[in-house]
């Protein structure tokens, strides 16, 4: 198990030198990490056996909250925006979740989709507030009171996103090992037994749903300040589908999975669009098929498997 930490540390170090080694990747990775937060949220619900095809609404909620705060209050500090957007989205998630976490299977998936479509429609139609289909522009935030150029801000944002990713991954690993984390998985394996242990599956799911919304909101806020523009498309159902795909592709076995999936997809996307513009969907589809057939645990499974192999080879024992 030690080797996997070394692997992650190496990957993290590689990411950290991107602004200098491969500046063209910096924006791509910032967005990948932003979407990664949302995909982690989706993955958390997947562990409970629930597929949300609507989580882009929380990504959009985080993005629009950041935009509203800047436009309405004039406060534009990066950290205030990130924290406030996360909290507001958590509150929206708790409200929506209180209604939705009663449902299971296809009903849960479809209701999330339905609510997100209403959300998308509101963002598109409420022109006076949301700017309609034109969206809203988000000026470059300050960082702890310091005004930066867009280029300078982008570098800071990249490192902030990277640090947040590490923090969320650390907390996530602890969460999955905790009683609450186990209870989330228990809803998937045996909800009846969980209730017979005296645990309210509804409450467990509401907490999980709120956390998942908050994570998506954080991602949305990062995207908003990175792109500098928020659009109703952030909430569109294909974006929600993309998040599910990211989570499944990356793997829901660990917190790193969705981030790996997101970074992988964004890079493949960037490369594929550049190389074969029209074949982008084909490449994506083929990639997904390969992963589903050969890596049922997602890309994360590939990482843990190879790490396991190396470590047991080293110790000369056959751990399973």
């Amino acid at each position: 198990m030690k080797i996997i930490y070394a692997l992650f540390a190496a990957a993290f170090a590689a990411l950290a030198i991107v602004p200098f080694a491969a500046p063209w990747l910096q924006f791509v990775l910032t967005i990948a990490i932003a979407k990664g937060f949302a995909a982690v949220g989706v993955a958390l619900l997947l562990r409970a056996g629930l597929i949300s095809i609507g989580h882009a609404m929380f990504y959009a909620a985080g993005a629009y909250t950041a935009a509203f705060i800047v436009l309405w209050s004039g406060i534009s500090d990066l950290f205030v925006l990130l924290i406030a957007s996360t909290l507001v989205t958590a509150a929206i998630g708790a409200l929506v979740g209180a209604y939705l976490v009663r449902y299971r299977a296809i009903f849960f998936a479809m209701l999330n989709l339905a609510v997100s479509m209403v959300f998308f429609a509101l963002l598109s139609k409420l022109y006076g507030i949301t700017g309609g289909t034109d969206g809203l522009r988000v000026p470059v935030p300050t960082v702890l009171g310091t005004t930066l150029t867009k280029a300078g801000f982008d570098i800071v944002l990249f490192y902030v996103a990277l640090a947040l990713m590490a923090i969320i991954a650390g907390l996530g690993v602890q969460f999955l090992k905790s009683p609450l984390g186990h209870a989330v998985g228990a809803i998937h394996t045996n909800e009846v037994r969980l209730e017979y242990l005296g645990v309210s599956a509804w409450s467990v799911l509401l907490i999980a749903y709120t956390i998942s919304a908050a994570l998506a909101g954080l991602g949305g806020a990062i995207a908003a300040v990175s792109i500098g523009h928020v659009l109703p498309e952030y909430a569109y159902w294909t974006e929600s589908g993309h998040l599910v795909l990211t989570a499944v592709l990356g793997g829901i076995g660990g917190v790193a999975g969705p981030f790996i999936g997101s970074i992988f997809l964004e890079i493949v996307h960037t490369v594929a669009v550049g190389v074969a513009h029209n074949a982008w969907n084909l490449i994506m589809g083929a990639t997904l098929l390969l992963v589903i057939f050969f890596l049922p645990q997602g890309l994360y499974g590939l990482v843990t498997k190879s790490a396991d192999k190396t470590s047991s080879a080293k110790l000369g024992e056959n751990k399973s």
């Binding site: 905790s178 037994r193 209730e195 017979y196 645990v199 309210s200």
Partner: protein, 248 residues
Amino acid sequence: MSQPLLKAESLTIAFAGIKAADNVSLEIEKGEFLAIIGPNGSGKTTFLNLCTGYIRPVSGEVYLEGEPITGWAPRRIARQGIARAFQIPQLFTDQTVRSNLLLGIASRQGVWDGLKPLARRRYQEEADELLELLGLSAHADAIAGTLPEGLRKLADITLALALKPRLLLLDEPTSGVSALERFSIMETLMNAMRTKGLTALFVEHDMEIVERYADRVLVWNSGSILAQGKPAEVLQDPRVVETVVGVA
């Protein structure tokens, strides 16, 4: 005068016109080991479902030490101290047996802790103690879903015990187990019961087991109680022999 631990009063429920509980009344005294026997489909499991809130009776009441618990949700009844093991084991099949128990133990305080590990020392020690008591130590690290049925049933019972219940309901603890293993499982179970000073109700098919272990036996037939009393007497009753023993 002490209250009965559990009291059911005139419980009635029907499925598609068939009465699975027809005006059932019974009491379980503290410390008692009560058996229920009866043909398949006579409503034994339904009675456990009614007592634990899984289904609601059309009429009638259930009391736990005098407190009405009719219509409460299973989780609320579980928190009041009625634990249940199932006819078909209900485990978290993708987890180890130990991890199943850890969640059971943790759930007594609610599972709201999202940061400290479930596998903390205090829970581990308690889980290991339970595993030892039920003779499951060797299977502690096996994935629950991969165990043979007999062991899964035992793990299911152990998970119910992890709740430190006041009353334990067991639905055919020895079904799906070879005749040879039955008695050893029952010995283990009885030992655990005595150690914990538990009151239990168990549904059972095997007459020898009922005769050997039950303090009292209820005979179920078509949703109502046909006879009850000391096993030695009840099992001689010609009506009982006809409906139950003859069938089994």
